[in-house]
């Protein structure tokens, strides 16, 4: 009965689309990253590891992009988790209009990044932008910066915008985790005379670990693929200071030098396959245990 009632073609439709438009291009990409493929000539030659040598050579800018991507990923993981956890704890307290606050804090997550980028270009504007005007109004004129064009500040500003947009999402996941912790643990701890810090350290953190794993995995996968935030705010500038892997991929695409671009994606593909595999095993663990 199983065979007849659960036919394979039910899976096949989704599977074929997934194979043709996601898996096959990636596999082709691995092969083509060993060639001098470009948009100008039809013939491609096998050139061995040259593209990868280009990516990992110190004369080029690619290592810088990889470094930025890693810096971005690590700092957004830390910032979003810490702030998200703080907010989740705060919203979980007995405050008024709890649900309203949750809805408002989550809101940035649903606004398109392209739009967020445009709005923050205005907010960061050195002459008339909201931040610098506010700083001047409260008498901190010396703190004003060229947020998006100063080499010192551009990448930090990008990270700040991304944290602004993404923290509400992390908060909501952690909040769900917090709400699933039974009150009786805290009551028992109170009877034993535990301080707030001890309760957080010995009850909240360990029981929140599954939720924290999930948010870290999500932030990690998101951070490594980051493109839109950088593209709309600085597009890699000033110079190449804020370039990340995917803005470099996009400029290779525009230039037509597909070989190097494909090699870049292949590097990412290998990293993500390993991380993705680990993540999925972590997240669907209960299925193997039970």
């Amino acid at each position: 009965m199983t065979k007849r009632m659960y036919p394979f073609y039910f899976i096949a439709i989704a599977l074929v689309f997934y194979l043709v438009f996601a898996v096959i291009p990636s596999l082709m990409g691995i092969f083509l990253s060993f060639t001098d493929w470009n948009s100008y000539s039809r013939v491609t030659h096998f050139i061995g590891f040259d593209n990868f040598a280009t990516i990992f050579s110190s004369d080029e800018n690619y290592l810088h992009g990889i470094k930025n991507t890693i810096v971005f990923t690590i700092s957004t993981i830390i910032l979003k988790t810490v702030i998200g956890l703080f907010l989740a704890e705060l919203v979980n307290k007995k405050i008024k209009f709890k649900n309203l606050h949750r809805v408002l804090i989550f809101m940035p997550a649903i606004i398109p990044m392209l739009v967020v980028g445009i709005i923050f270009k205005s907010i960061f504007n050195p002459e008339y932008g909201l931040i610098n005007e506010a700083l001047r109004t409260i008498g901190l004129g010396q703190w004003t910066q060229q947020w998006l064009t100063d080499v010192q500040w551009a990448f930090k500003s990008i990270i700040a915008v991304d944290v602004w947009k993404g923290t509400g999402y992390i908060m909501v996941i952690l909040l769900a985790g917090l709400q699933s912790i039974s009150h009786s643990y805290y009551e028992a701890a109170e009877i034993d005379g535990a301080t707030a810090m001890m309760k957080f350290r010995f009850i909240t953190l360990p029981l929140l670990l599954p939720a924290l794993t999930v948010t870290t995995v999500l932030n990690l996968l998101y951070g490594l693929k980051i493109f839109d935030t950088v593209y709309v705010l600085t597009n890699g500038g000033p110079g190449y200071t804020t370039d990340v892997v995917y803005t470099q991929v996009f400029s290779q695409f525009s230039l037509g030098s597909y070989g190097v671009g494909t090699a870049l994606i292949t590097v990412l593909f290998v990293i993500m396959t390993i991380l993705g595999y680990v993540a999925i095993r972590l997240m669907s663990r209960e299925e193997y245990n039970g």
Partner: protein
């Protein structure tokens, strides 16, 4: 004692309000500046307009060809989300109910797609072979494919909680696989389907990278790209840019406010299990 509790709760309430304000300030900024004159909006701030300029919206709809891109976005997001849910639910159904070695592998293989990056370069070749390059159908197919892994993941978890006796009852009543799925199982999936639909609709509505790579005619652009292009042309008129942005995000803000229960449930679903 009581006094310190009152002060503590006051501080908590104020902190929460400040944070909520930080979260919505950029959106409020857009709302206020969308109805100002050009000179009033030259410095984007919270000063109220002297007279509310509703004509900004008509100007924007005309100059930004908004109705066109609105229809494009609506078409891309709704068709791709709709088809994606159907084929993902069908796949998830069989993957849950018939757990052979192969199917377990296929499930992991499909949800790996949540992590994997698309290869934009080789995808061009595939789009050329399938004659989808630079077409509306092509973008719809790509959006659908990008949403499949996540949809399968969510619906798979949900079908797992439906009792298998349902299927057996269906079989006894003489259902074939298609009848069983479409008249018995699919209606039961409603909560998961609503969540997945809203999420994939929002994701595709906000997406702009695929059209950036694969659509070169402005006629076919979705709203996000149209608004970005508009910003390029009218950088000096922040009032018009704001009005344009406001019209772009209005549909999703409304969907969000109406469906926030489903959205938040869906985004935390599968991730946190008590």
């Amino acid at each position: 004692m009581i006094k310190s509790i009152v002060i503590k709760s006051l501080i908590q309430n104020i902190t929460v309000w400040i944070i909520s304000l930080i979260a919505v300030i950029p959106v409020l900024l857009i709302f206020i500046n969308a109805v100002k004159t050009v000179s009033e909006s030259s410095s984007m701030n919270f000063a109220l307009p002297r007279r509310i300029q509703f004509e900004n919206f008509t100007t924007v709809i005309e100059k930004g060809k908004l109705s066109h891109s609105f229809l494009n976005s609506l078409m891309y997001s709704s068709i791709s989300s709709f088809v994606c849910i159907f084929i993902s639910a069908m796949a998830a159904f069989v993957l849950v109910r018939n757990r052979t070695r192969l199917n377990r592998f296929l499930y992991l293989f499909i949800i790996m797609g949540i992590a994997l990056p698309l290869n934009y370069f080789t995808l061009i070749d595939v789009m050329k072979w399938t004659e989808l390059l630079n077409t509306r159908a092509g973008i719809i197919v790509l959006y659908m494919v990008t949403q499949i892994p996540f949809s399968v993941f969510i619906i798979y978890g949900f079908i797992g909680s439906l009792p298998k006796e349902l299927d057996e009852a269906g079989v006894i009543d003489g259902c074939g696989p298609k009848r069983l799925f479409f008249s018995v199982i699919f209606p039961m999936l409603q909560p998961a389907v609503v969540t997945v639909f809203i999420l994939s609709f929002l994701n595709t509505w906000n997406e702009f990278v695929l059209p950036l790579y694969y659509l070169n005619s402005a006629q076919k652009w979705p709203m996000t790209l149209a608004v970005y292009n508009f910003f390029g042309q009218f950088q000096q008129s922040w009032n018009l840019v704001s009005a344009d942005i406001l019209l772009t995000i209005l549909p999703i803000v409304i969907i969000y406010l109406l469906g926030q229960r489903f959205i938040i449930a869906g985004m935390t679903n599968g991730s946190v299990k008590g």
